[in-house]
Symmetry: C2
Subunit: 344 residues, 2 copies
């Protein structure tokens, strides 16, 4: 899409998962539901929460977990806090509406006097903030930027419900998601090691389609009425059906854009809905299973953080000159996200 001369490199990655891993056995006990159902239906082994499941107290804010990930990314990039010229953060679950959480993260990092942006986004947020940062670097206005993606999905988990009589479509929200953060430092400076961003796909494709997911928020405390609707509404069946199809379309768009054939691509980071869905998506896309880099089985669905965790997993196995695609699908109003990367 751009004919700019400069290239943008992901020079450092960082991730953070709060607290101790919560295994399926423990989750099943807390919700008094069947452990095997979680494993068969979802296929994820563990996830992390920013809330203590026993006391129901918040242990971490989104700003805290994002600051941890960002510090690690900056350290791994070889840059320092002082080099960061702008921050772009993506989340669907901010600590507050105002101040934007990105500014609370900046406070924790000691970053000031730079522009900061917070994108309201879901599972394609990581690609969206990398997209924005790339444009900022391509414009020539900046040399080094920080991007962050994170979510505290447990905010939507109401632990005082009757889980035994809950339909699967609702119960899935309690076992599918986890909390986490990821970050990356991007630069347009030459001769940096990391991942070169060869192409970004970021495209709304929602016209005339029903939203697959709605996250509501409540501004006004209820006066006497406790019957607020549940904040999360998800058409899990529609999502299960649409994501593999969209993932394949994204794969093809990326191949067209960078003119790489499937055999030129060494790794593919598929969309991360659940452990089971990742497998099904890979099968539907017809890509060799050994090329797929997952993380959701070990982290739960951490939305905006997922691609950063996949990229960190990729970093340890990908060699110089190799190529990878990262594919994300946002099911709220259907967004296609994709990255074509090469290792430098």
């Amino acid at each position: 899409m751009t004919d700019a001369k400069c290239t943008v490199t992901i020079a450092g990655l960082g991730t953070f998962l709060p607290g101790k891993p919560v295994e399926n056995k423990q989750l099943a006990e807390i919700f008094n539901i069947n452990k095997d159902w979680i494993e068969v239906f979802i296929g994820s082994k563990r996830r992390y929460f920013a809330v203590d499941l026993v006391t129901q107290e918040t242990t971490h804010t989104l700003a805290e977990i994002c600051a941890h990930a960002a510090k690690e990314a900056i350290q791994n990039s070889g840059y320092s806090i002082q080099d960061i010229e702008f921050i772009v953060m993506a989340t669907g679950t901010p600590d507050f509406l105002m101040p934007a959480t990105v500014n609370l993260v900046a406070e924790k990092l000691g970053i000031n006097l730079v522009p900061t942006y917070q994108l309201q986004s879901g599972c394609s947020g990581a690609v969206q903030c990398l997209d924005v940062a790339q444009q900022f670097l391509l414009s020539g206005s900046y040399k080094v930027g920080l991007v962050i993606g994170g979510d505290i999905c447990s905010r939507f988990a109401d632990f005082n419900r009757d889980f035994n009589n809950m339909p699967s479509g609702e119960l899935v929200n309690y076992v599918l998601f986890g909390d986490g953060a990821g970050a990356a430092v991007l630069t347009s400076e030459e001769n940096k090691t990391g991942f070169t961003i060869e192409y970004v796909l970021n495209q709304l494709t929602g016209l005339d389609k029903e939203p697959g997911q709605i996250l509501n928020w409540f501004a006004v405390p209820p006066a006497g009425d406790t019957k607020l609707p549940q904040a999360v509404k998800e058409d899990y069946k529609a999502i299960e059906k649409a994501v593999p199809v969209l993932a394949k379309e994204i794969l093809e768009s990326l191949m067209d854009a960078v003119e790489w054939e499937l055999h030129d691509i060494d790794f593919i980071l598929p969309p991360q809905l659940s452990g089971n869905m990742s497998k099904r998506i890979v099968e539907f896309m017809d890509i060799p299973v050994e090329k797929a880099v997952h993380c959701v089985t070990e982290t739960g669905n951490v939305a905006n953080a997922l691609p950063f965790i996949q990229l960190q997993n990729l970093e340890s196995i990908m060699h110089q000159g190799q190529r990878a695609f990262c594919i994300t699908v946002e099911s709220s109003k259907w967004i296609k996200g994709g990255l074509a990367l090469s290792r430098v």
Copy 2:
């Protein structure tokens, strides 16, 4: 900050205010408060609400009012819906967390297959989304983009409270804010009439400062507990004190950046907190009162929409070759926003 050759032009503007104007007299009757207090303390004459104050029913969503403003901006720009290559929207009060409201606006406009971004932002959101759009155009990736700023502040107004015993610092929230939307079409194509963006200032300045405003949101419906805290928390005194100082700093930064002296600047669009505060800010900045372009007295504080309304007012009085500054201050975690514009 950039040495790119191309310039970015605001080629068309649009605004929308929902329903009929609510005058101070009517507001005073509904809340059973003193009309004179509103006029003396706030200094705004009227505002518009996306809720019917009598029935308390929502009459407009944020997506609806933003779509109205966007349609007008596109029409005024001479471009068509099909020319829009990306959308950047700024709001502090989205309809949902997910889908992002920008995607619901795209649906209403019939826009699809383009990247969309929604910034979580307050009173500097208009500058922030113009900033992002400018970078996208400067990068050479795009030629025409749509930016939108809008807020439904009345979401935070709980009409079932005891207004007679409410301290001024809380009551202010009910009379200060209004609902509204604004939009602009930006282009990097040459020979367009409108406003050339000569410089954008967008800078977090919140390190070690307490937030002036917090907007909370509630994810989990309460089980039996109706005592949720009030969603809006504002240190109005701190805001009143800080905004004029920051406005003057922004004025000076803009003058430094574009090397214009005060006498070179024909119009200044000051921050818009309330009718009274606008006057005080102009006095503190020591700028001639006839250079100031306000709108808040006629619209109430419509946050992300305000600068678009000011720009539309400016459009009718500014001649080719004249210069203007637009100054915004976000008081949540303190952001300086500014635009240097010339009429082409």
